[in-house]
Amino acid sequence: MANVIKLRKGLDVNLKGKASLETIQTKVQGQFALIPDDFYGMKPKVVVKEGDIVKVGDALFVDKNHPEVKFVSPVSGTVALVERGERRKVMSVRVDADGKQDCRVFEEKDPLKLLLESGLFGFFRQRPYDVVANPEDKPKAIFVSAFNSMPLAADFEYVLRGQEKEFQAGLSLLAKIAKVHLGVSVKQKAEALMAAKDVTVTVFDGPAPAGNVGVQINHVDPINKGEVIWTLGAEEVILIGRVVLNGKVDLTRTIAVAGSEVKTPKYAQMVVGQPLKEVLSGQIDEQKSLRIINGNPMVGVKTSKDGFLGAHATEITVIPEGDDVYEMLGWIAPRCKEFSTSRSYFSWLRPKSAEYTLDARIKGGERHMIMSGEYDRVFPMDIYAGYLVKAIIAGDIDRQEALGIYEVAPEDFALAEFVDSSKLELQRIVREGLDILRKENS
């Protein structure tokens, strides 16, 4: 029997618009985009020119510092555009899909080499710093979380159906590189998860953010200074499994299209970089001010209806933007529809199953940290979150290290940012702290 870890701290936010368990198919057509910013911490060097013909699995760009880490085309077709922003920063590499999905075949035997060549290594992230992993490191373990506890996130157990073989093949390959820990939820029953081979399964029982891999690391095998852990999304393990079994890269994912503003929220088979309008057209009210998010509302990245599916995204969510809402006297009005963990609102009176439509407003002004213990309520790690944030704001690197910054990623602060009455941008603060630390240590 797997080890069960019970977590008490955390918060489940019940948002409206969960995807129903049915999957629609999409056509591989139009212009796809691979976005370097999705692979945080990497400097892209584009290796194709506009007009080049590429197959699925051909590199579009590589990491300038580690050219062996490749980022490959999700579709076959013609390179249409290398989009550049300020100071010639590469914003995206666009490929016009020909619809044939011609694939390059990978026959490397060495696991790491296979991952590097097939472009799947780029999906690994490392702790500390929460950036793209460095292939020269020897990680002490690889952590995979098989569930996402954030609101509206895709249900991995559903995504996994029919792909159990690929998932296991992926895990077995990872096990050849380092010890693999698989974190599963107490609610998950799938055989492929509970009885996964070559890995150590740990069961987590508790509210969000129990599904965050950072939380799982903290409870299973916390990171000390100088150690490196690699993390990988559970769906990306399936991508690896496909290349192991078939020798071909197939970046097709099952994505939840969810949120209160989606007319019929359900799952969709999409390829990384696919235009979002493929699934959103007809599903959203284009007249309304909406926020379309690559990912879930807690940790995702804002995009637009002309955007593309992010590399790590397991869901697309659409919520109201809220910039046209004017609520009067918010400091005293009952505001019964609002969700709050504070009993100064009335959401505690509503049943737990009540669903909320939240918009993207911050709903308050930014202040210094006033209340104490707010973050700790939703931060199930043995870390003083408030003190760590203060150390980052103060730029005190020694103290950040002492307080455990190597163990955290911005996403671990998502719920703290949600409940924060001082409305500090905690994820941005932590991101900046990690970036500075990485620069100092390199």
Binding site: L15, P151, P222, N224, K225, G226, E227, I293, P297, M298, V301, I319, D323, V325, Y326, M328, L329, G330, W331, I332, R335, E338, F339, S340, T341, S342, R343, S344, Y345, A360, R361, I362, K363, G364, G365, R367, H368, I370, M371, G373, D382, Y384, G386, Y387, A402, L403, P410, A414, L415, E417, F418, V419, D420, S421, S422, K423, E425, L426, Q427, R428
Partner: protein, 389 residues
């Protein structure tokens, strides 16, 4: 609602960069965010949805929690005046209440005008939004001073504490000491005769707008704790009066019942930490019991808690999240020591009949040290883990 929104939108350009009223931008922001929840939306990355709670709501709740004690304080001012004049039989409830209302209102206004004036100026100068912290301090300050405190003294004390206890540290959230208590400490040490002096400060002696009764200037009524400090061995007021609050004292501190109402709201909404609050009472109760058992104090544990500013301090000021301990374990120690020091000052120092203010200020100073110990423990645990490997 729409017309108000339109009005705000119409006058907004005047306050923006280059507008003729740009110097009052923070004032405009203050009123706009007061009237409407700001609808700025989250950034590109980070959490896109947010809890509806914000610091305006939190501060408003504390103000609401203070209202019962304030209203009772007003009534008690009228009651004490009538009692001193020997006219209790003739006085009506509303007559006493309005007398107290008129006596307290100027203090409330002075406190808010001076304090918020400084806050607005500083916000404008620092190009920040107005912070709500003073909404709470501004109502607490008139409640913790004697009714006869002159307004000019109050104005000076408020200005001193807002500037030197808060703004120079960086504003709400950065201050080390509780702003309201610094105001009282400033008055206490600068104008001791007006704060306790010869016990003529606790009962209002004048007729206000035709209400109330004139009492001779030399009339003196000590607080129960003052009596004890002066050597009395028994209290003149009944325990019932002490709990209800019909005794002389600072305006808002006397009624245990009214304070308990506020405490319920603060605890229920989670604005105040129950750990801090409970441990203050435990600390004060145990210490009071100890001194009583040792024969050093004629008051038992219960009376120590009921009398003076103990309840008010425990509920509204020890729990100030900014100046109290921030670690959960630290809150227990912080609160316990406040109770201990408050009763110790009362019993062992005859010069200071009331020790709550000094206890909280002292522990404000030590709160970071308490937290430091807890955080250091976490740090050394992490360091140990690395060594063991």
């Amino acid at each position: 609602m729409n017309s108000l929104r339109k009005y705000f939108d119409k006058i907004k350009p005047n306050f923006e960069e280059g507008g003729k009223l740009h110097a009052f931008r923070s004032l405009y922001d203050g009123f706009e965010t007061f009237a409407f929840v700001p609808n700025t939306t989250a950034g590109r990355c980070g959490t896109h949805v947010h809890d509806a709670i914000d610091s305006k709501r939190i501060m408003s709740l504390v103000v609401i929690a203070l209202v019962p004690a304030l209203l009772f304080g007003m009534y008690n001012v009228g009651y004490q005046n009538a009692l001193a004049a020997g006219q209790l039989e003739n006085a009506t409830f509303w007559g006493m209440f309005f007398y107290g209302f008129l006596a307290v209102l100027p203090k409330l206004i002075v406190s808010y005008v001076v304090g918020l004036g400084i806050e607005f100026t500083v916000a404008q100068w620092k190009h920040e939004e107005i912070q709500e912290g003073f909404l709470v301090s501004g109502i607490i300050i008139p409640m913790i001073v004697p009714v006869n405190t002159p307004l000019w003294m109050l104005a000076i004390a408020v200005a001193f504490s807002v500037i030197f206890a808060k703004e120079i540290f960086g504003g709400t959230g950065m201050n080390i000491f509780n702003v309201a208590l610094i105001t009282r400490a400033f008055l206490f040490f600068s104008y001791p005769s007006s704060m306790t002096g010869d016990d003529t400060v606790w009962v209002s002696q004048d007729v206000i707008c035709g209400l109330g009764y004139a009492v001779p200037d030399t009339f003196s009524a000590a607080t129960p704790l003052g009596d004890i400090a002066a050597g009395a061995t028994a209290l003149s007021s009944s325990f019932c009066d002490q709990v209800v609050g019909l005794i002389p004292g600072s305006i808002g501190e006397t009624s245990v019942i009214a304070i308990a109402l506020g405490a319920c709201l603060l605890l229920w909404t989670g604005v105040a930490s129950w750990k801090t609050m409970l441990s203050v009472f435990v600390g004060g109760g145990l210490t009071g019991w100890m001194y009583n058992a040792l024969g050093l104090s004629p008051l038992d544990a219960c009376q120590h808690i009921v009398l003076g500013g103990f309840c008010f301090g425990a509920v509204f000021m020890a729990t100030d999240p900014v100046t109290s301990a921030r670690t959960e374990g630290g809150k227990w120690i912080y609160g316990f020591l406040i109770g201990f020091v408050a009763v110790t000052v009362r019993v062992l120092n005859p010069g200071y009949p009331e020790g709550m203010m000094l206890a909280i200020l002292l522990m404000n100073l030590f709160a970071p040290l308490i937290d430091y110990c807890f955080v250091s423990h976490n740090i050394s645990k992490r360091a140990q883990r690395a060594i063991k490997k």
